[in-house]
C-alpha cells in the first residue's frame, strides 16, 4: 500500500488513496454533484444496464453480490428485498438518510458530493424489487445535503431519469424528497416510517421484524441506507463478479469509515471491506497516522456510539462484521472514535450515555427510565458525589434494559474473556441498549477509574466519635 493520500479542499475530512473507489469515485471533482459531471463519469449507465435486463435478474445480481446493509445491522440488501410477501402491492422504498449515530458521517458526504449516484441507486432498487414510489428521507439538520439532493432530483426529472417511462422504458417511479426535523430514533426503520406518515417518530412494535412485510401505509416497504443504495450503480455497471472480488467473501465491496477523536488525521475513508485492521486504520500512514501528540491509545469505539468499546488488545482485528461481533462489539455504521491516554473515561462514557438518554423516544420504559437513570448515576459519579454502591447500581439498571451477559471485549490486563454479540433486550429498538453499551464497556474495562472517583465513606458509629477531645480522659 502506498502512503499517499489525497485530500480535496471541497470535502474537508475526506481522504482518498490507492484503494478501490466504488462510492467515492467522483469526490475528486468540485462539481461532482452536478448532472453534467455525473453523466461524464458513467452516470446513469448502471440504470441503463439494469433496464436492459428483466427486473428479477437485477435482483439476483444484487443478491449474488451480497451487498451488506451499511446502516448498522449489516443485513444483505438483496435478501431484504426478497422478504416482501409475494403478490402484495404496492411496495415502497424509503431511503434512510437520517444519519445521526455519534461518530458517523458518510451518508451526508454521499448526499452532498454525489446525489445523482444515490438517485440512480434508488431507481435500480425500485426497478429490481418492483417498488412503486420512493421516499428519500434526509435528516432535517443537513441543509446542504437537502439542497444538493433537491437540485439533483430536479435535474434528473428534467432529463427523464425519474418519473414516467424512464429512458423510454415501461418503468415509472417518482422519488419524493422528504426531510426530517431532528430526532435520532427516526434512524430506526419503523420509526422512520412512522415519521414519514406524519407521526411522532417512535419505533413500531415487533413482529413483524421487517417493514418489508408491513411498512409504510401498511404495505410492504424496503428501507435502505444511503450508502447501500450508492453501491448499486457501480455494481450494475461492473457486475457482481467484479464486486465480490473486492473485500472478503462474507463482506464484499468497500465501506466508508469515519475515524474521529484523538488521532493525528481524523478523516473519512473508503476502505476495502473485511481486510483492513483497526491498527491499519488508526496508525496507518494512509489513514489516521497515529495518536495525537504521540500519546498511547486507551480505548476506541469500533462502530458508532452504540457499539461496546475496544481496547488496544483488539487492534489487530480486521474491520469485518462477524469477527468484530465474536470479539464482543459491532461495526454498526462504520464510525471509529479514538480515545488517547489523556481521556477521562467516565466522562466520555457519560457524553454517550447522555446522548441516548436524551434521544430516547419514551415508548419503552426500560429505555426511557433506565437510560435516564444510567445518566443520572453516572453524572454524580463523574461529579465526585458517587457512592460505592453506584457502580453496581449501573450494572443493575443496565440489566433491566439488557438482561443477561452484555457483550464486551477481552482484556489481557484484566484477565477478561470476550462476551460475543448480540445481547438480549427488553426494548423495541436499539436506543436503550445503546445507552448501556458505553457505560458497561467503560465500567467493565476501566473500573479503576470509576472507583477513583468515589469518595470512600467509612462507617463510624456515632458513639465512637469523640464529642470533644479530652473529655473522659
Amino acid at each position: 500500500m502506498t502512503a499517499t493520500a489525497i485530500t480535496y479542499p471541497h470535502t474537508p475530512g475526506f481522504y482518498t488513496g490507492d484503494r478501490p473507489e466504488i462510492v467515492t469515485s467522483r469526490f475528486k471533482y468540485d462539481d461532482s454533484y452536478t448532472l453534467s459531471r455525473y453523466l461524464a463519469t458513467d452516470g446513469y449507465e448502471g440504470l441503463k444496464a439494469a433496464l436492459a435486463k428483466p427486473a428479477p435478474a437485477v435482483h439476483d445480481e444484487v443478491k449474488n453480490a451480497t451487498v451488506l446493509g451499511r446502516g448498522g445491522a449489516g443485513f444483505p440488501a438483496g435478501t431484504k428485498w426478497g422478504l416482501t410477501p409475494p403478490g402484495v402491492f404496492p411496495r415502497y422504498l424509503v431511503v434512510n438518510g437520517d444519519e445521526s449515530e455519534p461518530g458517523t458521517y458518510k451518508d451526508r458526504l454521499l448526499m452532498e458530493r454525489d446525489p445523482h449516484q444515490l438517485i440512480e441507486g434508488c431507481l435500480i432498487a425500485c426497478y429490481a424489487a418492483g417498488l412503486s414510489q420512493c421516499f428519500l428521507y434526509i435528516r432535517g439538520e443537513m441543509a446542504l445535503a437537502q439542497e444538493r439532493v433537491a437540485t439533483a432530483l430536479n435535474e434528473a426529472y428534467g432529463a427523464g431519469y425519474i418519473g414516467n417511462n424512464i429512458l423510454g422504458s415501461n418503468f415509472s417511479v417518482d422519488i419524493v424528497l422528504h426531510w426530517g426535523a431532528g430526532a435520532y430514533v427516526v434512524g430506526e426503520e419503523t420509526a422512520l416510517i412512522e415519521s414519514l406518515e406524519g407521526n411522532r417518530g417512535m419505533p413500531r412494535l415487533k413482529p413483524p421484524f421487517f417493514p418489508a412485510a408491513i411498512g409504510l401505509y401498511g404495505k410492504p416497504t424496503i428501507v435502505n441506507n444511503v450508502e447501500t443504495l450508492a453501491n448499486l450503480p457501480w455494481l450494475l455497471r461492473n457486475g457482481a463478479g467484479e464486486y465480490t472480488k473486492i473485500g472478503t467473501e462474507t463482506s464484499p465491496g468497500t465501506r466508508m469509515v469515519a475515524i474521529s477523536g484523538h488521532v493525528n488525521r481524523p478523516g473519512v475513508f473508503e476502505i476495502i471491506n473485511g481486510t483492513t485492521t483497526f491498527r491499519d486504520l488508526i496508525y496507518g500512514d494512509e489513514f489516521c497516522q497515529g495518536i495525537r501528540n504521540g500519546n498511547e491509545l486507551k480505548a476506541f469505539v469500533p462502530g458508532g456510539g452504540s457499539a461496546p468499546w475496544f481496547v488496544p488488545d483488539q487492534l489487530d482485528l480486521p474491520f469485518e462484521g462477524r469477527l468484530v461481533g465474536a470479539a464482543g462489539s459491532m461495526l454498526g455504521s462504520g464510525a471509529i472514535m479514538v480515545m488517547d491516554s489523556t481521556t477521562d473515561i467516565p466522562a466520555a462514557a457519560l457524553t454517550l450515555c447522555r446522548f441516548y438518554a436524551h434521544e430516547s423516544c419514551g415508548k419503552c420504559a426500560p429505555c426511557r427510565e433506565g437510560g435516564t437513570w444510567l445518566m443520572r448515576i453516572l453524572e454524580r459519579v463523574v461529579a465526585g458525589h458517587g457512592t460505592s454502591r453506584d457502580l453496581d447500581q449501573l450494572y443493575s439498571v443496565g440489566e433491566t434494559i439488557c438482561p443477561g451477559d452484555f457483550p464486551h471485549a477481552s482484556s489481557e490486563r484484566l484477565g477478561l474473556k470476550a462476551v460475543p454479540f448480540p445481547y438480549k433486550m427488553t426494548t423495541i429498538c436499539f436506543v436503550g441498549p445503546s445507552a448501556y453499551a458505553p457505560v458497561h464497556s467503560a465500567l467493565t474495562l476501566f473500573r479503576d477509574e470509576f472507583e477513583a472517583r468515589i469518595v470512600k465513606r467509612t462507617f463510624i458509629p456515632v458513639s465512637a466519635i469523640p464529642v470533644s477531645a479530652g473529655v473522659g480522659e
Binding site: 402484495v88 418492483g130 433537491a150 430536479n154 428534467g158 425519474i162 431532528g182 417512535m202
Partner: protein, 197 residues
C-alpha cells in the same frame, strides 16, 4: 397544495408543512398548527403532538441565528465543552437562551455528523468545522455585520432549493387502495389465486 399531493396520505406532509410554517414565521405558531391540521386532515392536537417530538421545531420566537454547538462524543473529546463555555460567556446567555437583541439563540446539539472535524457547530444548520474560540468570535462579528447573508438565511429556512416535480413527468402518489397488481415492468409471477389481497 402540491406537497400534499406527492404523498399517498396527506398526513405524511405534516413535517414538510411544519418546516414551511417555520420558514414563514421563524417559529411554529398556533395558527399554523391549526391550519396544517385542516390541510392534512388531522386535529391540531395531532399536529402539535408530531411537532413537539422533533427538535428543530420551535414554538416561540428564537434568534435570527440559531447556533447549535455539538457536545457528543467526538466533539466532547476535542473540546466541544470549552467552546460551549466560551460561547455562553461571549453571548452572555446560557445554552437555550436568546440574546436581548434577538439576534442569537444558543443551543447544545447532539451529533451533527461531522465528527472528524470536531468541534463543530451549525448556524441555522450551516456547518462550521474545527471551531476555535477566535473563529467563534469572528463568526459572531460576520453574522452581526451581515457578511454571511448570502450563505446563511434567517432561522426557519433550512434548504433554499425545493424539489419541483414537473406535471408532465410525475407519476403521482401511489396509494395502497389504487393498486392491485404488480407494477407493469415486473414480469407476471405465479398467479395469486386464493391469496387474500
Amino acid at each position: 397544495m402540491e406537497i400534499i399531493g406527492r404523498y399517498p396520505r396527506s398526513r405524511s406532509a405534516t413535517i414538510p408543512l411544519l418546516h414551511l410554517a417555520q420558514q414563514q414565521d421563524g417559529y411554529v405558531t398556533d395558527e399554523a398548527i391549526t391550519h396544517i391540521g385542516e390541510l392534512v386532515g388531522s386535529t391540531s392536537a395531532e399536529v402539535l403532538g408530531t411537532a413537539t417530538f422533533y427538535e428543530m421545531f420551535k414554538f416561540e420566537p428564537v434568534g435570527k441565528y440559531l447556533i447549535n454547538i455539538c457536545g457528543t462524543m467526538s466533539c466532547a473529546l476535542m473540546g466541544g465543552d470549552d467552546l460551549m463555555h466560551h460561547a455562553e460567556h461571549t453571548l452572555g446567555i446560557k445554552a437555550g437562551g436568546t440574546t436581548a437583541d434577538g439576534l442569537f439563540t444558543l443551543e447544545h446539539a447532539e451529533c451533527q455528523a461531522a465528527c472528524t472535524e470536531a468541534p463543530t457547530l451549525q448556524v441555522n444548520y450551516r456547518y462550521r468545522f474545527r471551531v476555535t474560540n477566535e473563529m467563534f468570535d469572528a463568526l459572531l462579528e460576520d453574522l452581526r455585520a451581515g457578511n454571511l447573508d448570502g450563505e446563511i438565511p434567517p432561522h426557519g429556512t433550512v434548504a433554499r432549493v425545493r424539489q419541483r416535480i414537473p406535471a408532465d413527468k410525475a407519476v403521482g402518489a401511489v396509494a395502497p387502495e389504487d393498486v392491485t397488481g404488480a407494477p407493469v415492468w415486473m414480469p407476471v409471477p405465479q398467479p395469486a389465486q386464493g391469496r387474500p389481497s
